[in-house]
Amino acid sequence: MRVTLHSMNAPENPGSSNGLAIRADRVSRHYKMGEALIRAVDEISLNVRQGEFLALLGASGSGKSTLLNLIAGLDRPSSGAIFAQGHDLATMSSEELARHRNKTIGIVFQSFQLLPRMTLEENVELPLRLAEVPRGERPNRVREALERVGLGARVKHRPTELSGGEQQRAVIARALVNQPMILLADEPTGNLDSKTGEGIMNLIAEIHRPPSGPGRTIVMVTHERGLAERYADRIVTLSDGQLSREERLR
């Protein structure tokens, strides 16, 4: 299924720094497990341009999801600095990080992470509630977001009443409802069959390069090289927490 995004454009003023949406500077994330020190991410430096589609490729345990969590502000680096839209995440308070996750970042999870007790419209409304968007504005924005991912007719349905592909579309609608500049996707097709996964990837591709207006910066974690080569502008391969390879495709 292919859904055309007509007006899901990013805001005109990205507020970036030197044209970079994300900049990671010698970022490390180490864990202690008993006596052992796990270097999940080890001194990675990485720049992502504004509007770029970057695929993080790597085997399981290579550190790609950890890096994504650091960019999302869900986790803090052990050392190094990460800048998103010009702001240093390492120096932000937990409140500021929460605001960053709410306004700057949209996250798409592999396992959807919709709240099963809420309807689709309630799920999509959550980021708006957290952003304290006036109640009068919310219904239109929620409906618009769901219509754009082709779920306009399912607003009252609960996630359990939807297929995997539809749930992932709902997650994309929720991720974009606050119009973030950066979309982070962690194995967005990991739980879907290949055909449905292709539909989701086409949707993400259109978010990246909509028919009109500027696109969004996308960082996608995947272990499927084929998908990465087909949709991404650049592929960065991680191995044992370090960058092992970088390929520019477009």
């Binding site: 969590n69 999302a72 869900l74 986790d75 937990s94 409140e95 929460a98 605001r99 996750r101 709410n102 306004k103 996250i107 999870f109 992470q113 709240l115 007790r117 809420m118 959550l126 980021p127 509630r129 957290l130 952003a131 304290e132 109640r135 929720r174 606050n178």
Partner: protein, 466 residues
């Protein structure tokens, strides 16, 4: 997040686990109900006592008596230490001059002598020994004679009597209602005090002795039996129907005070005065009852009277202790009531901790979508607060219902015992509001730990949670 959104989300979350949250809320409700029920009982009992005492006009009355005993420092004074300077002075006589002196004190409305004596009340063929008491006209509005059948004395000098219901029963033929005594005459037979003339006149004159007037000088008096008829104008309710008077002037039969005074009935103080002095010094009273302008003035009047060298007593002293008792009583009731609420608060902690475990992933999602720690904390607080509020409201209603049942049961029990059933149950508005606020505060306090635990959850860990 805005308060309305928080409340909506909290209510939605509570609805999702409706059974568990309802049971927790019910636990709070039971705790609040026990608190309300116990405190309402304490308040009700306190108000019952206050009502009874205030109704009888006892809060604004000071009883004055002559100080007893030998002054400190004189032979027979014992080893007791003096309480105040007045202890060192000889006891003053409670006479007309004293009455006027006391009446001049500030905030004193009236000073009446206490006239009480034992007499035989007769209505053929029955007779009965009875305690007769003089009653001032002001007593009409004091509530002492609540439930009076008939009417109060027509004038201060009317030769009329008000009879207590129990006495009326005994004077009437069996089976007749006490009220039927109203309008009938009864005869009082009592010991009258008659003056003895000075010894010089005593031998020269054969004239009959005259009753001793208040200001007469006399060398002594003789005691003679005397009789007088009185028209019964009122009957007070019998004690078995909740009647029966309490107070400084309680008795089985009441006469207008001035009429009772004029009867010159021998009082206990007469014999004491005869023993104390060789010559009469005019009318002396066994006791004086002061009516104060307000209960607030009682303490000051009491102090002034004591400084004048008399013993003074008011029920303010007793009720002060009574109030202390009820304060402690209410405190204990409150503590016992709160115990149930404390147990219920453990239920809140348990429910919310369970909710954290169940909603771990949801908390992770909320944080990923931009919820700050504060938002998550507030959400759990709101859930605790909603449970506390609902439990508080329901608990107050439940407590009120329990109270009604207790009141109803008590009424049935007292009725079976042949007693009146006073209202022992009061739920004041401050208790309703206080109980709800207390329930919310306890619930919020119970939510502190779960809320901060939820707020501290690592979103990455929480999202990984299956």
């Amino acid at each position: 997040m805005k308060v309305r959104d928080l409340t909506e989300l909290a209510a939605r979350n509570l609805r999702e686990a409706i059974l568990r949250n309802s049971l927790t809320t019910l636990g709070i409700a039971v705790g609040v109900a026990s608190l309300v029920a116990l405190l309402s009982l304490g308040v009700g009992l306190q108000q019952l006592v206050d009502r009874s005492v205030a109704h009888a006009g006892l809060f604004d009355t000071v009883s004055v008596r002559q100080r007893q005993g030998v002054p400190f420092g004189q032979p027979g004074g014992g080893g007791r230490l003096p309480r105040d300077a007045s202890d060192l002075q000889p006891p003053r006589a409670l006479d007309e001059a004293t009455r006027r002196e006391i009446a001049a004190l500030p905030n004193v409305l009236e000073v009446n002598p206490e006239v009480r004596f034992t007499a035989e009340a007769r209505r053929e063929p029955n007779s009965q020994l009875v305690l007769v008491s003089g009653m001032a006209q002001s007593s009409q509005s004091s509530g002492t004679l609540d439930g009076l059948i008939g009417h109060f004395f027509t004038t201060a000098d009317a030769e009329e009597a008000i009879v207590q219901g129990d006495l009326a029963k005994r004077l009437l033929p069996e089976g007749q209602a006490p009220a039927s005594l109203v309008g009938q005459e009864i005869v009082l037979r009592f010991a009258q005090r008659q003056a003895l003339p000075p010894p010089s006149q005593q031998s020269a004159s054969d004239a009959p002795n005259q009753a001793v007037g208040p200001d007469e000088e006399a060398m002594g008096f003789s005691i003679v039996p005397s009789e007088k008829k009185f028209l019964v104008v009122g009957v007070t309710p019998a004690s078995d129907s909740g009647g029966g008077q309490i107070g400084f002037n309680s008795g089985g039969l009441y006469l207008p005070l001035s009429v009772a005074e004029k009867l010159q009935v021998v009082q206990g103080s007469d014999l004491r005065d005869v023993a104390r002095t060789s010559s009469g010094e005019g009318q002396r009273y066994s006791a004086l009852n002061i009516r104060a302008a307000s209960p607030a003035a009682v303490a000051q009047i009491e102090t002034s009277v004591k400084q004048m060298g008399f013993a003074a007593f008011s029920l303010i002293d007793v009720t002060r202790n009574l109030r202390t008792f009820f304060a402690v009583f209410d405190l204990f009731l409150g503590i016992f009531g709160s115990l149930a609420l404390a147990v219920a608060s453990m239920g809140i902690v348990n429910t919310l901790v369970m909710a954290i475990l169940e909603r771990r992933r949801e908390i992770g999602v909320l944080k990923a979508l931009g919820a700050a720690n504060r938002d998550v904390r507030q959400l759990f607080f709101a859930e605790a607060g909603v449970m506390g509020f609902a439990g508080g409201v329901f608990g107050v209603a439940l407590g009120w219902a329990i109270g009604r049942v207790i009141q109803f049961g008590t009424a049935i029990y007292l009725k079976r015992q042949g007693l009146n059933s006073p209202n022992i149950w009061t739920v004041p508005w401050w208790l309703v509001l206080g109980a709800i606020v207390f329930a919310v505060l306890v619930s919020l306090a119970s939510g502190i730990y779960p809320a901060s635990r939820a707020a501290r959850l690592d979103p990455v860990e929480a999202l990984r949670y299956e």
